[in-house]
Amino acid sequence: MKFIRLKAVTRKEFYHLIRDYRSLYLAFAIPLLLIILFGYALSLDVDNVETVFVDYDKSELSRDFIRKLDASPYFRVSALLPASKDAVDFLDHDRAKLAIVIPPDFKKSIGADREIQLQIIIDGSDPSFGNIVRGYISAFVERYNQKMLIHFLNRQGQERIHPPVDGRVRIWFNEDMESRNFIIPGLIAVIIMIVGAILTSLIIVREYENGTMETIKSMPVQAGEFLLGKAIPYFFIGLTDLLIAVLLGQLLFGIVMKGNFGLLMVAASLYLSVALSLGILISNVTKSQMLANQMAILTTYLPSLLLSNFVFPIINMPKFLQMITLVVPARYFIDILSGIYLKNLGIAYLWPSMLVLLLMFIVLTFLNYKMLKKEGL
């Protein structure tokens, strides 16, 4: 391998890159757009659920129940309606997500120590939302019942009664429970994949389409120099994007990395190398730019988005999809990212994922090298 030839290939590739403004635009604008969108606009957390009440009882007790619910950060009572059919209307028109009907003998039943039915209707069309709301409202009712029971027992006996068990829940890793704290780090994996694989998927096929591959073959450049030289400019773009993502996450959205930045750089370089070699492999096997682009989107971008634990939990997928995720590089990098960002883990915990990435890199590079050799480079 000769440095001067490597430098020449790198320079040529670099010129290609800066002269194609649209690719550069993709390389920097899409990461920016994604980070701003996800950091600012997109959240999976649920609070202030729009709730409507139909209060047939209109007693002190029922009003107190409504007030208690409204005071909870999870619900917001937006209307008190006269009849159940109005509540149905609100749900149908998507003006409320939760409707609660308090029956006429609410106070009387509770006063007489009788069980009373409470009608609760959740808009379940969005199941993740519906699940969360159901969890919240069940917990709220259970808590209310427990209070009622203790109240009842206190009336029966003389001594003060305490609930036997108190749950002290501690949330680890994402103490503020903000979805952006795991989405933004995960986004780094998606962005690097877009830049690394989609852009590089064109770099060799372009030579074939333009007919310049023959020229390159006739030159003294070797396969290894050619590969490395082609990849270097994209490697730097990838690292720049990583820095942009880390900085924007921290400055705009206050997402602080708990772990070691140096370790992140090492892991990111490894992952970036995998992405680049994957892109080059696509470029090697396809013979048209259109096809290369589509293959790159299908085999790199979509899996990094969908099959990587980014926002869609792998554990809920069917077994065969879980098996497929094992060969998705982003899955391992997101593991590392969440380890570094949220959990402050060191190499002692992260080495298995890094090893997998390293193996992927070695295999892909070997394939690329073989293919270029076969082409006669």
Binding site: L37, I116, N131, I161, G167, N293, Q294
Partner: protein, 373 residues
């Protein structure tokens, strides 16, 4: 306007489209791949929560607490650990989602009638999943408390208790696929109409056949009509196909009227084709067109309520989503599938789609004509 000229252009377009093996694959196979992958990937059901137990108390009381967690199909005790270090380790290595620690004096404190603390360690990385898990922990504990109180105070326990009859409408089992699969139908139509239309026009530019078309008697509006009709037909065929997959493979109920869906799809296509035309005017190669389409698709997808609820977005962004045709079409397609409501409920969405469609389409045509002339 000559129908003959338009018909011939449409025919040429179809021949060109289906002669290319890769195009055929993209039109006929891609939608199904996307449908199956998306249909199975997006699943936020709360189940199989892995739990580790650290029980220092080892009493009937502590065992009964653990049992109350095992009694439902949400939590599964996967590990029984002997010390805190082991539990932390499991949490760090993502082997468990929740850890429960019961102290030495758990039972004795309870028997004295005081409150015994129980510690829970919860992995909060995916906060949306975590908040539901925490809510379920709270409900299970409260239920356990009531049962224990009942054991401790053997008196008549009929008290004014709320019996919550929770029903989830439109999607009674909170099945993730019910929500996402109709959404994919909408997304796929957007994808193909964006990309195919823009490429159809770019192709003429790139191959140099645009000049030939210009010297033919073909008028510019005939050109636009002839170039868009094939993609309307393809998009509607895809609509049929993927709706059939949704109904027969994923078994999503289809409660509303198909005619209404078809009308909505046509309105939706209007703005999509407009955007496709627009992309073709600002790109000069297929490559650029693909990238530009990609750049458009991202925000349309993210800000549509497909995965990320619009209600969670900041106010300004919520206003912005009103410019997104996909947002309205998603509401319509989900309402038709799951709620089966009619025009009386959905007319604002239809109106919005029409307005957006007309503005975008005429705008794109005007820009396109200027380019052409």
């Amino acid at each position: 306007m000559s129908w003959l000229r338009i018909r011939e252009l449409v025919r040429k377009e179809f021949i060109q489209l289906f002669n290319d093996k890769r195009n055929r694959a993209m039109i006929m196979i891609m939608p199904f791949i996307m449908m199956f992958v998306f249909g199975y990937v997006v699943n936020y059901d709360i189940k199989n929560v892995r739990m580790a137990v650290l029980d220092y108390s080892k009493t009937p009381e502590s065992r009964s607490l653990i049992k109350s967690f095992e009694g439902n199909n949400i939590f599964h005790v996967t590990h029984v650990v002997a010390n805190e270090k082991h539990m932390t380790e499991l949490l760090l290595r993502q082997k468990i989602d929740v850890g429960i620690k019961i102290g030495h004096d758990f039972a004795s404190v309870m028997r004295e009638g005081r409150t015994a603390p129980v510690q829970f360690l919860v992995d909060g990385s995916m906060s949306n999943m975590t908040s539901v898990r925490v809510a379920y922990i709270a409900s299970i504990l409260d239920r356990f408390n009531r049962e224990e109180l009942r054991k401790l105070y053997p008196v008549d326990m009929s008290y004014g208790k709320l019996d919550a009859r929770v029903r989830t409408w439109y999607n009674p089992n909170l099945d993730s696929q019910y929500f996402f699969v109709p959404g994919i139908v909408a997304f796929l139509i957007m994808l193909t109409s964006f990309i195919l239309t823009s490429i159809a026009i770019i192709r003429e530019k790139e191959d140099g056949t645009m000049e030939q078309l210009i010297v033919t008697p073909l008028k510019s509006y005939e050109f636009i009509i002839g170039k868009t009709i094939p993609y309307i037909i393809i998009a509607l065929c895809q609509l049929f196909a993927v709706t059939a997959v949704a109904v027969y493979w994923f078994e999503i109920p289809f409660k509303g009227s198909f005619v209404l869906l078809l009308i909505a799809a046509c309105l939706f296509l209007l703005s999509n084709l407009g955007i496709g035309l627009f992309i073709s005017t600002i790109s000069s190669t297929k490559q650029q067109a693909m990238m530009t389409a990609f750049f458009f698709i991202l925000p349309f997808f993210m800000l549509s309520g497909f995965v990320f609820p619009i209600a969670n977005m900041p106010e300004i962004v919520q206003w912005l989503t009103y410019l997104n045709p996909l947002r309205f079409f998603l509401v319509i397609i989900r309402d038709i599938f799951l709620k089966g409501v009619g025009m009386d409920v959905m007319w604002p969405q239809y109106l919005a789609l029409s307005i957006l469609g007309i503005i975008v389409f005429t705008g794109a045509i005007m820009r396109f004509k200027k380019r052409l002339d």
